[in-house]
Symmetry: C2
Subunit: 283 residues, 2 copies
């Protein structure tokens, strides 16, 4: 039976009790509007842990002033059904007022790794992410936390925070889940018009083409970036935010393809800002 907890104090009490019973707690932090990508994390948590907590909280501190905080899709009743069917133990639904009370002023920042990619185009985004994730870790006290590789920079930034601040949690990343035509699952796919939905296929297609190029011997990161840009920009309604061919851990860019390369991109398609990525190993 899924329990719904809204109070921070009650969540802490639950967690202490479960830990005292010697059980392993898994946490999947989400902003709701759940899709198959979230579900793959939740299923992993259920398989790997004794008790599974899923949090739903649309975190205001990770949205910029011109971003989609107000319109971010909220589908709470459907989410509850999905989580009940998945048979999780606790849905944690904290309020904004409890998480960010008057006078709130403490933040966690990861420095270097947030200077690239989404950190560059969304100032303050990662500060909001690391702060809320640290708070959720302290409230739920999980042994393991699950994050999707679609947000690969986020995953890497959280790993860095956990290592640097000596947090007592294991961070587990899980592969991107895709629609049949390759589009990475995302709550923001709901923003896509019918035409945008078709244009959005170009992200995963361009990543696949780039991988093939590298496998066939292409070594210039500029050539690869240009090829991706062309494939995406020829589709209607697309606007590239960034295309990066970079180191998968520190996100620095190089002129030549190295042994292991991250290709990451962010593209506006209509109202939706979509991201996707792929790690390519040089053969």
């Amino acid at each position: 039976m899924m329990e719904i907890i809204t109070s921070i104090g009650e969540m802490k009490t639950w967690s202490r009790r479960i830990r005292d019973e010697g059980k392993v707690i898994g946490l999947t932090p989400t902003m709701g509007c759940l899709h198959e990508g979230h579900l793959s994390l939740i299923k992993a948590s259920i398989t790997e842990c004794d008790s599974t907590v899923v949090s739903i909280f649309v975190n205001p501190t990770q949205f910029g002033p011109d971003e989609d905080l107000g319109s971010y899709p909220r589908t709470l009743e459907a989410d509850k059904e999905v989580l009940r069917s998945a048979d999780i133990d606790v849905l944690f639904l904290p309020t904004k007022e409890d998480l960010y009370p008057d006078g709130f002023q403490s933040f966690v920042e990861v420095d270097n790794k947030t200077k690239y990619l989404c950190g560059k185009s969304r100032p303050g985004f990662f500060r909001g992410v690391t702060t809320i994730v640290l708070k959720l870790f302290n409230i739920v006290n999980p042994d393991t936390a699950f994050f999707g590789e679609k947000d690969r920079q986020q995953l890497e930034v959280i790993r860095t925070m956990v290592r640097d601040l000596n947090l007592n949690v294991t961070v587990t990343g899980k592969p991107i889940v895709r629609e049949d035509d390759g589009l990475a699952m995302s709550s923001r796919n709901r923003y896509l018009s019918e035409e945008g939905r078709l244009s959005a296929r170009s992200l995963s297609q361009a990543l696949e083409t780039a991988q093939t190029s590298i496998e066939q011997g292409e070594r210039s990161t500029e050539t690869i970036r240009n090829k991706i840009r062309q494939m995406i920009e020829k589709r209607n309604g697309t606007e590239v935010d960034y295309i990066s061919v970079c180191d998968p851990e520190d996100f620095s860019e190089h002129k030549e393809i190295r042994s292991k390369t991250l290709i990451a991109l962010a593209v506006r398609v209509g109202n939706a800002r979509l991201i996707d990525n792929r790690i390519v190993e040089r053969t």
Copy 2:
């Protein structure tokens, strides 16, 4: 028998074991060069908790480039003797390399409360303090942590971090311990020359005079600041860094004395930067 632990992993293991036994852990984080002020915290920990940990680590991230990191007094052998006699359970002596490995880049910052007093004159100081304190909390996992009220802003900043980030630790502040002539105990008192030691008495004397003024009806914070400044500047070798008559919680300054007032000051006396403070309740 006092155990000395240098490894982060061993410290975590020890803490987990003690907690599993249902015992309450007290932590007093220090930079060593222990004096009666530290000892009062350690005694409180021994009284209030089942197991007492004291950490000694001169934390580089809280020193500015022109500050006294290199010359900060280190008296490890004497400290060990003091702690053995006090009968603590664990002396935690982590290394710089383990706490700040290559690629370290995650920091905690408290925003508003660090804009005043020492935060204003020592940029980056509180970022270093909150970061190391959070790390020590995650490693030692104490139920209660003890801090001295001499560093009142630090105490308040740490309380704010603990509340904002939902940390599972109680922060306990303990009163300033003073020399017979009123000088607040501090490791940095060692920097004082014989003459400087005499001049340094002016800090606590000025605070006492200010308290008397307020009790006698003085309501202008400017008058009080000026009186303190005069008393200190007439002594040899003193240079005022700041004198603040402010709110004890958010450190904002007002023109009129309110019901509860913090008087805080920082003064250079020769090579030593000394701080002292007093809370005055309007009668």
